[in-house]
């Protein structure tokens, strides 16, 4: 190794960034969307009617109704999850798990009638949330891939800081009158440096959220691999009560809900009922997090057959657990109000821009000389760049569009929306690989812009009559239009880009160029 330190860091930054860049772009885009997960879910179910308040009586009655439904439909399940109505989503959401590996059961009930709620089936914002760390793969695979990419991203961030020799003097510099490579480098530097605190925080805390999966050895040694025992002992969940193996009858949960509400002042979010037909059944009431950086849900556990309180968890974490929950809380940003959330969202967009500009920079810096045929490696990177950077936003738009256009009674409708998402992604990536690079970028980004605009048209045409709060829906549509305008602007810039003036003067008649932008 004859190279200097900075050169070897530049090499490390280039190649570590390239190999994980495509996955990271997808993780950044879906993670940024997840800041508005609840809003996306609401937009995707315009039939939903919100309520001003949810009274303790409604909560207790909803819990009883949920248990009655589960006793009839999911008696054999090991665990029941009951999402209780909130003013934003006044519905009862039930999940149950019968055995490991089997798909969980799921139903959405109207608490007033007890019948399944009349809503279009969709995965809503939860799809982006899960994709963000599982990539729609089996959880274990997805989490490992995302985690490894995030760890490499930390390497890329730190080596990028070392490589960047003019962090301060180029802090405000975005040159657009120089060569394409210089412009892309400036864009990469500005989006990376300006939001650097966010990038470091979000990558590090992202790895921390799943740290126990990536580094299980401490828990394996101290708790024989029983992660639940570890979480219980550190005060993050209530203690596990193993099944007795004797049949038992669950006491009415309504009174338990009332007692839990009297114990904890936060809004009640859900009930978890473990081993519901066992003599040792457990009902856990889980509350929303109190306002704070830390991700901590207060919980009250009841013995299922008697209805007696067995444990109350509310604050009081030890320093190590508090550190962990605070890092997780910073990652999720549940504490962020509307204005701070916009800033987090902008930082997320800058993360997307940093990854995308880095990927484009790789191919712009290695552009074949004009007239030369690009090699296989360059064409592969170009196709993957375009397939990811244009394909994924196109897929997001198509997912929204499918939500408005697929027939409401289509069997497996929620899965069809996801199929449209991946179908569009593959289509954009496949079609984008054929035309000349510059034309491919221009056309694909114009198509993405058209798709986002089409979502707004489809929303106004098919769902306007369902809007319970027109201003809110118009606001969401305005955000989609802003995205459409952004993509249209980039496509337009690519069409207009003519290279720096100096270079044009030197070469009076430029041959057709291969710029990516």
């Amino acid at each position: 190794m004859k190279q200097g330190f900075r050169q070897s860091m530049a090499w490390l930054h280039t190649w570590s960034g390239l190999v994980v860049g495509w996955v990271l772009f997808a993780v950044f885009v879906t993670g940024t969307a997840t800041y508005y997960r609840a809003d996306i879910s609401r937009w995707m179910q315009p039939e939903l009617r919100r309520e001003a308040t949810v009274t303790p009586e409604t909560l207790a009655a909803s819990a009883d109704l949920a248990v009655a439904h589960l006793q009839a439909q999911a008696g054999a399940a090991r665990t029941w999850f009951i999402g209780l109505p909130t003013p934003e989503k006044p519905l009862v959401e039930l999940f149950w798990r019968t055995k490991p590996g089997a798909a969980p059961g799921h139903v959405l009930l109207d608490p007033r009638t007890g019948a399944p709620a009349a809503m279009r089936a969709t995965r809503g914002g939860d799809f982006f949330y899960r994709f963000h760390f599982e990539l729609n793969l089996p959880p274990l695979w997805g989490r490992w891939i995302v985690g490894l990419c995030a760890m490499v991203m930390l390497v890329a961030l730190v080596s990028g800081i070392v490589t960047h020799r003019r962090i301060f003097s180029d802090f405000f510099t975005l040159r657009r009158d120089k060569a394409a490579q210089r412009g892309w480098l400036d864009a990469h530097n500005v989006s990376g440096v300006l939001a650097l605190p966010f990038h470091l925080m979000i990558t590090y805390t992202g790895v921390v959220t799943l740290a126990l999966m990536y580094m299980p050895w401490g828990v394996t040694a101290a708790y024989k691999g029983d992660q639940f025992a570890f979480f219980a002992e550190t005060g993050q969940i209530t203690r596990n009560r193993p099944a007795a193996g004797q049949p038992g009858t669950l006491a009415p949960v309504g009174p338990m809900v009332r007692q839990a509400l009297a114990t904890i002042p936060e809004p009640l979010e859900r009930l978890t009922i473990a081993n519901p037909r066992d003599a040792n059944s457990t009902v856990v009431a889980v509350f929303e997090e109190p306002h704070g950086l830390s991700h901590e849900h207060p919980q009250v556990a009841f013995a299922g057959t008697s209805g007696d309180v067995v444990e109350v968890l509310s604050g009081g974490l030890q320093p190590a657990a508090k550190t962990f929950t605070t890092l997780v809380g910073l990652h999720e940003a549940h504490f962020a109000g509307a204005a701070l959330r916009v800033l987090f969202f902008l930082c997320g967009l800058m993360g997307c821009a940093m990854v995308a500009s880095g990927l484009v920079l790789w191919s712009v810096a290695r552009l074949p000389k004009s007239g030369a045929v690009p090699g296989f490696g360059w064409r592969l990177v170009h196709a993957l760049n375009l397939g990811t950077i244009a394909g994924l936003p196109g897929a997001v738009a198509a997912y929204f569009l499918a939500n408005r256009l697929l027939p409401l009674d289509l069997a497996g409708r929620a899965e069809w929306e996801v199929r449209v998402f991946f179908g569009t992604w593959i289509l954009v990536a496949g079609l984008g690989a054929w035309p000349a690079p510059r034309r491919a970028w221009r056309l694909s980004l114009a198509a993405v812009a058209a798709l986002f605009a089409a979502v707004v048209v489809a929303d106004a045409a098919t769902a306007r009559g369902l809007w319970d709060d027109p201003a809110w829906f118009l606001g969401f549509d305005a955000a989609l239009l802003a995205l459409a305008a952004g993509f249209a602007l980039i496509s337009h810039k690519i069409a207009r880009y003519a290279g720096p003036r100096r270079a044009r003067r030197a070469v009076p008649e430029p041959a057709p160029r291969m710029e990516a932008a």
């Binding site: 802090f171 405000f172 975005l174 605190p197 966010f198 701070l340 800033l343 987090f344 930082c347 800058m350």
Partner: protein
């Protein structure tokens, strides 16, 4: 409110630091800044950024203050970079407007 004050002070501070650099100074004025002006702008810039951190901690405490401060600093930086790169002359009126908004917001927070 904290975010507005923090973003306003950060914007003014970052704008001062930005204009203390020859390249960005010349986007607005024909000559590079003289050394006393550079010093003045840098001192003002870092003081304003320090003030924005102090204001965020004062208004939102040690837990949320630094988070709010970093968020508003990043947002203000993004606005500044886009404006001075695409329409640098807009800074000539945007800086006074930002100063006025920040002053009003700060008075509102003190009252």
């Amino acid at each position: 409110m904290t975010l507005l004050i923090g973003a306003g002070l950060s914007f003014l501070g970052l704008a001062a630091l930005c204009l203390s650099m020859g390249r960005h100074h010349q986007a607005l004025w024909p000559v590079p800044p003289e050394s006393r002006r550079v010093l003045g702008l840098r001192v003002a810039g870092w003081t304003l950024i320090g003030l924005s951190l102090a204001a965020a901690i004062r208004l939102d405490g040690w837990n949320f203050g630094p988070v709010d401060w970093l968020g508003s600093l990043t947002g203000a930086g993004l606005l500044l970079i886009v404006v001075q790169s695409y329409r640098p002359r807009v800074l000539l009126w945007l800086v006074p407007v930002a100063a006025a908004i920040t002053a009003v917001a700060a008075l509102g927070a003190l009252a």
